[in-house]
Symmetry: C2
Subunit: 131 residues, 2 copies
DNA sequence: AGCACTTTCAACCACTGGGTTGACTAGTGG
DNA sequence: CCACTAGTCAACCCAGTGGTTGAAAGTGCT
């Protein structure tokens, strides 16, 4: 899998079963067996889900004695959170700027000649921003 | 698709291209064509991505005259954010409780008989919590 | 050693998902 | 009316995924 970390985390959380697992793990650690109980699917399927969560960094399973406990790794959530926050903030700032512009245009009613849908500015080239 | 809203949003953001799109849309609205430019894929593929984002509620495209602009819908991000926040907080509270417990056990060094890996408490039944 | 339980590996199946090609509709502007 | 562009629909390909079954390792306990 060549996909980046962020994609893996989002993809992992895109499954209701997996989301329920992390929800339960937020309250207490559990063994794979304990995790599996509520769901009506094979134990192997649960291990597969575990593996996905693990590869996404959302969960760790310290090696050692047999019933290996599953721990939630909260920092993986931070990764998503900062991403979301970044673009939400950016969008909100844009809205604020747009409101300000509208207010200003309300102030001087003339000069309505180049209101061409305000999608004229080239706004530099596209920079990836995703890393 | 019978999957819930949350799954759709997470799944939508699990793709780097789609993530880049919302990143760019956070800075300014764009038409589908403008959005497509940076990527080396068919226009149809871009429209598919748009559709996914739209069905996830991350984006809206007001009907009307031909070049339909694409707007980012920030509130969809909130949906994810509250989910993440909820379980992160819950996990952090648990860690704090656990630290307190450890500190307390440090206080009275005796009574080390039931230190069975602190995974003993049943902690009620599993309640779905996902909605 | 032997038994039970947990974990993993591997093959398989149905279905979804990102991408393509190709054709088709709908506005816009001569 | 004709041409152009923006957008859409549909079929297809191939890779990935959620789930299954079956078998094989590890590990713990007596």
């Amino acid at each position: 899998m060549t996909t980046d970390a962020l994609s893996r985390v989002f993809a992992a959380l895109a499954d209701p079963t997996r989301r329920d697992m992390v929800a339960r793990l937020a309250d207490s650690d559990a063994t794979a067996g304990q995790l599996a109980e509520p769901y009506q699917m094979t134990l192997q399927a649960v291990y597969k889900h575990l593996k996905v969560l693990e590869e996404a960094g959302l969960v760790t399973r310290p090696p050692g004695p047999q019933p290996r406990p599953v721990r939630l790794e909260v920092r993986a959530l931070d990764l998503m959170d900062t991403w979301i926050e970044r673009y939400r903030d950016r969008a909100e700032q844009r809205y604020r700027r747009l409101d300000a512009l509208l207010a200003q245009m309300n102030g001087d009613e003339h000069e309505q000649d180049h209101r061409d849908g305000h999608r004229g500015r080239p706004e530099a080239a596209h920079h990836p921003d995703d890393s």
